[in-house]
Amino acid sequence: MKGGSMDFTTLSDEQDMLRDTARRALAEAVDKNALRAGAAADPAFVARTWSLAATMGWTGMLVPLAAGGLGLGFADAAVLCTEFGRALFPGPFAATAILTATLAGMQVAPGWRDGVLPAIATGRMRVATIGIEQLVETTATPQPGSRDSAERPDIVEYPHSATHFLSIARDGSTCRALLFPADAAGVSLTMWQPFDVTCPVGAVEFPGLDAAILRCDISQAQTAELLAASRIAAAAELVGVADAALDKAVAYSRERQQFGVPIGSFQAIKHRLADGFVLLENARTATRHAAAAQDARADDRSIAIDVARSCAVEAALRITADCIQVHGALGFSWEHDAHLYLKRARRIVGTLGDAHSARRSIGDLLAQVVQSGAGTLFPPIGPVQPAII
């Protein structure tokens, strides 16, 4: 097991400190006025915020101490991802510090560990991923003529600011990965209008496979690990987005006066926000538990992760939409931050799987247990303790 507490029911003192430090530093470094004005499209802006993450050691959170990282586990990484979500951090943080670091840490092929981990830890390497959805094994083939089979290239997040591209392609039950430097001769970028203005998107064209500096095959088990890591990071980031949006909505409802009283004194507002709080607590608890389960490599961690992403998606979508509702017309304006949260939540949900797909894998498991008559629907809650409930 990597570092991190087995106890998901509370944050350790170190995690509390990590959270507080990250929250303060990120709030200062990521100027939301600049984000709304489109600063994320400027590679220099992304590089500046990235250098903060690197200086604090956060880009190397999963990188072992020996390779210059912090050597933390997912429980700690989830704390940081939540803060990056809260701050609307503009950069491929999870793609680099979670996905690429996890891949390289598995020593999938010679050169990955030494070539990638120290560079991530120091902040020299900023990785945008191409084809991350290929990690999900699906039996469905695109319908001819559907959008899925159209010729449009893969959407890449933060391609303009990446130092490297990690391209993932599926081959049956396994995947292949290639790592390209962004400055290789013949690499060309086409930028598109982003849905989420904090996350510029575009297409990347390569001169050919020879431009790759590293390549590897990823086994089925390793693919599952990468998917688990990415999903925990996404759930944690969604928790942060939801948390920030709920804070905004609560603060506004205490200040904004209508009919001579703060709108937060109206039950219609109170109940909406109370529901948001319950959803957020659900998502926070389930995500913390899933991260602890992943650290402990618990047998049933895939269920824990499905529960976490189902809750995180539900909380983030509902709370960010409610945040706009509570702000009224102001919430609909570009000049307010509310739309940034909604868009970021929607974008993460779209790329890392919605609540429906999480519930679908839970449902398949339920049916399997019922139809085979074997196994138990409720294995003990791991990894923290198998005994109670």
């Binding site: 029911t9 389930a286 519930r359 339920l366 019922v370």
Partner: protein, 393 residues
């Protein structure tokens, strides 16, 4: 501490085996079709547990309690629910009144009442709600006027569970008529055999009658039955509500977990539109959603337990667990009704309606009360909004 210390397998397996044996023996005393919520069965099993020493688990030994560590209490409640035991009838005495008397009662009250709670010889009911004081409990109007060494009680209580079976009632009454709201309320212990008491059962939508109206016509209560000081009953009642938490939720979560297992099994055995119900995508998605609901409640229960084990003050979790439990339980039972399909035409007490050993219709109907009792969902949302989020009252 890590929660790995939660394990107590020896205790667990002993209690599990003992409960299974005793439950089988007691069920054999009743006709085979007796529903698990039959009041006679509930009383019989509770009496048996208490007489076998399984009461006062959290109480200090000086008051005859078992003084069990929190973890073992939770394991006991969990195993009690898991073996399919009937719910207790006198939980309000064991979980609320007992701890209240231990904290606030006189030595004489403790000597007189605690042993008979532990043995379950005396059943208690709670006299809080009134026709005009439901969620607004502090608006209660029943009068208790001091006359020498007695109080004279005049007024009415309602929604009192098991008052028709109860030997005693603990109630809140207004002892200072000129003050309003939270001041001027006292906490009194009333013998249900006193002259002037009339109990009228209220028939519920389930067809059962667990709740009652209680009428007090010049009922005399000795001053010795006042708990705490005169006009100081409100804080005692508020503290009493907090005693209930752990023992209330753990069994209900375990029950819900078992219900989901039974419902998934039922969905595998019934068919809809030519498939097994569980293969219907809409049903399967709803089952998964209920799975997530139950999983979350388990995580929250761990968190509550973890907090208690670390000695931290209870957080706001009791409000959101109550809210989440009651609403997700209704969601589960709504789904159950859809899976039960045309069987829903059979009544809640009809033995032919029981499927998978469960009376789904009855549980569905009962669940409508769960978002109302112990604080309505609306009140809990207000509590979360005001006390957690800090919104103006």
């Amino acid at each position: 501490m890590t929660l790995a210390a939660f394990n107590d397998d020896v205790f667990r397996s002993e209690i599990r085996a003992w409960l299974a044996t005793e439950l089988t023996a007691i069920l054999a005393e009743f006709p085979a079709v007796t529903p698990i919520h039959d009041l006679g069965l509930r009383r019989r099993f509770e009496d048996h547990l208490c007489q076998s020493g399984w009461s006062g688990l959290s109480w200090p030994a000086t008051f005859g309690g078992r003084e069990l560590p929190l973890l073992r209490q939770a394991i006991f409640y969990e195993e009690h629910a898991r073996c399919g035991a009937p719910l207790p009838l006198n939980a309000i005495a064991h979980g609320i009144l007992g701890p209240t008397l231990i904290s606030y009662g006189t030595a004489e009250q403790q000597r007189r009442f605690l042993p008979k709670i532990l043995s379950n010889e005396e059943i208690w009911c709670q006299g809080y709600s009134e026709p005009a004081a439901g969620s607004d409990l502090a608006g209660l109007q029943i009068r208790a006027s001091r006359e020498g060494d007695h109080y004279r009680i005049v007024g009415q209580k309602t929604w009192s569970s098991f008052a028709h079976l109860a030997d005693w009632c603990f109630l809140l009454a207004r002892t200072e008529p000129t003050t309003t709201r939270h001041r001027g309320i006292s906490f009194l212990l009333v013998d249900m055999k006193s002259a002037g008491i009339t109990v009228r059962p209220i028939r519920q939508m389930t067809g059962e009658a667990d709740f009652n109206e209680i009428f007090f016509d010049d009922v005399l209560v000795p001053v010795a039955n006042l708990v705490g000081g005169e006009n100081e009953g409100w804080p005692i009642a508020m503290a009493a509500a907090a005693f209930e938490r752990g023992s209330y939720f753990v069994p209900r979560l375990v029950r819900m977990q078992m219900e989901l297992g039974e419902l998934a099994k039922l969905a595998g055995e019934t068919s809809r539109l030519g498939h097994a119900s569980i293969d219907d995508p809409a049903f399967r998605d709803r089952l998964s959603r209920s799975f997530v609901d139950v999983y979350l409640l388990r995580l929250h229960a761990h968190q509550m337990l973890g907090r208690s084990l670390r000695g931290e003050a209870p957080g706001p979790e009791s409000s959101y667990i109550k809210l989440a439990w009651s609403e997700s339980h209704q969601r589960l039972l709504d789904l159950a009704m859809d899976i039960v399909g045309s069987d829903v035409a059979l009544g809640p007490q009809e033995p032919a309606a029981a499927r998978n050993g469960r009376w789904w219709q009855r549980d569905y109907l009962w669940s409508r009360a769960e978002t109302v009792l112990a604080g309505t969902s609306e009140i809990h949302r207000n509590i979360i909004a005001e006390r957690v989020l800090g919104l103006p009252r």
